[in-house]
C-alpha cells in the first residue's frame, strides 16, 4: 500500500466550521488536480458542532487508491493545520503525529509564543506561522452548506485560503498553483504563501 499523506485541521466550533472544512477541501481538490487519490471529510465525533468547541477536519492524499478510506480518523497526521491559535492551549494538537511532522498555524503571534504552548514540539520538523485572518480580512465567515453539500460561493473565501497557501511552502503533496486554481480567494492563497514564516526546529 502506498504511503498516505494525512492532514488534520483544527478549527473553532460553528464559527469556523465552514472555513475548516474548506481548508481540507482545498487540499484535497488541489491534490486531485495533480492526479492523486484524495479524501476530505469532517470528524464524525465532533458533529453536530458546538460554539467554541475544537473541531477536526481531515484530508488524505495518496498516489494509489486509499484502502483505508472508511477509517474515519487520521491517526498519524504528518501535517496539522490550526485555524485559531488558542486551540493549542486546549488540545494536544500533535496527537498521533509521527516524528518530523509540520504544524501550520493561523496566528499573529511569534513562533516562540506558539511553541511555549506545545509541550510535544520535538515531534515537529517545521512550524509555519501566518496571519491568515488579516490577509483574508475576516476571522470567520457565515457558515452554510455542509459536508457533501454544494458550496455556492466556492471554497476558500476566508482564512482557509492563505492558510493552505502557507502550507504549500512546506510540502510537495499539493502545489501552490493547484491550490490557487481551486480557491475562491486566489490572491489570498498567494499572499499566504508569501507572508508565511517557516521555522525549522
Amino acid at each position: 500500500m502506498a504511503k498516505i499523506f494525512e492532514v488534520t485541521i483544527w478549527a473553532t466550533g460553528v464559527l469556523q466550521d465552514m472555513e475548516g472544512r474548506h481548508a481540507s477541501l482545498l487540499i484535497a481538490n488541489a491534490a486531485d488536480k495533480a492526479g492523486k487519490f484524495v479524501q476530505a471529510w469532517d470528524n464524525y465525533a465532533d458533529l453536530p458542532d458546538r460554539v467554541n468547541v475544537p473541531l477536526r477536519k481531515y484530508a488524505r492524499i495518496s498516489d494509489e487508491e486509499i484502502e483505508m478510506r472508511y477509517e474515519y480518523e487520521n491517526e498519524h497526521p504528518e501535517m496539522v493545520i490550526i485555524m485559531q491559535d488558542a486551540i493549542i492551549k486546549g488540545m494536544n494538537v500533535l496527537w498521533g503525529m509521527p516524528k518530523g511532522g509540520v504544524l501550520v498555524i493561523n496566528t499573529k503571534r511569534s513562533v516562540d509564543d506558539i511553541l511555549k504552548f506545545i509541550p510535544n514540539k520535538d515531534l515537529l520538523s517545521k512550524i509555519v506561522t501566518v496571519d491568515a485572518n488579516s490577509i483574508a480580512k475576516v476571522a470567520d465567515i457565515d457558515f452554510m452548506g455542509g459536508e457533501g453539500g454544494v458550496e455556492v460561493v466556492g471554497i476558500g473565501a476566508g482564512p482557509s485560503a492563505p492558510l493552505v497557501g502557507a502550507a504549500c511552502k512546506v510540502t510537495d503533496a499539493f502545489s501552490l498553483e493547484n491550490v490557487v486554481a481551486v480557491a475562491a480567494n486566489k490572491d489570498g492563497v498567494k499572499k499566504g504563501y508569501e507572508q508565511a514564516v517557516v521555522t525549522n526546529l
Binding site: 473553532t12 466550533g13 465525533a45 465532533d46 467554541n52 468547541v53 475544537p54 473541531l55 485559531q84 491559535d85 488558542a86 492551549k89 486546549g90 488540545m91 494536544n92 496527537w95 503571534r109 509564543d113 511555549k116 504552548f117 509541550p119
Partner: protein
C-alpha cells in the same frame, strides 16, 4: 420485592432500580472540562468589583465563587469556556476579556475534545 414489579409482572432480567445513580459532582466534574474551549478569558479588576455576585449567578459553568475569607471573587480556569456572559452581565464593569494566549497559566490540555 417492590410493589410495582408485582403489579406489572416485570420479568426479573428487565428489572432496574427506579432512577439512576451518578457520582456527585460536588463542586467540579472532571468529565466535563470546558476550560479548553477558551479564546478569551474574563479578567477581574478587584477595585471595581462590588461582589454583587451577578457573575456567580450568570456563569453557565459556575466558574465564579466568592471567597468569604478574602471577600474576593475567584475564577475557575478549568471550566471557564470564555463565553463572555459574565463580562456582559457585570454591572460594575469589573470584568474584561483578554486573549487566552497572553497568559501562561490556566492550561487545560485534552487529547480528545469534550
Amino acid at each position: 420485592m417492590p410493589k410495582y414489579t408485582v403489579k406489572f409482572k416485570i420479568p426479573k432480567h428487565l428489572q432496574v432500580p427506579m432512577g439512576a445513580v451518578i457520582p456527585s459532582p460536588k463542586t467540579e466534574n472532571e468529565g466535563m472540562i470546558t476550560g479548553n474551549w477558551r479564546i478569551v478569558r474574563p479578567v477581574i479588576d478587584h477595585e471595581k468589583c462590588t461582589t454583587c455576585l451577578n457573575c456567580y449567578i450568570f456563569c453557565p459553568d459556575a466558574c465564579w465563587q466568592l471567597n468569604e475569607k478574602t471577600e474576593k471573587m475567584e475564577w475557575n480556569a478549568k471550566y471557564c469556556k470564555g463565553c463572555r456572559i459574565c463580562i456582559n452581565e457585570c454591572p460594575a464593569d469589573a470584568l474584561t476579556a483578554e486573549e487566552e494566549l497572553n497568559f501562561p497559566d490556566g492550561v487545560v490540555r485534552l487529547d480528545v475534545p469534550f
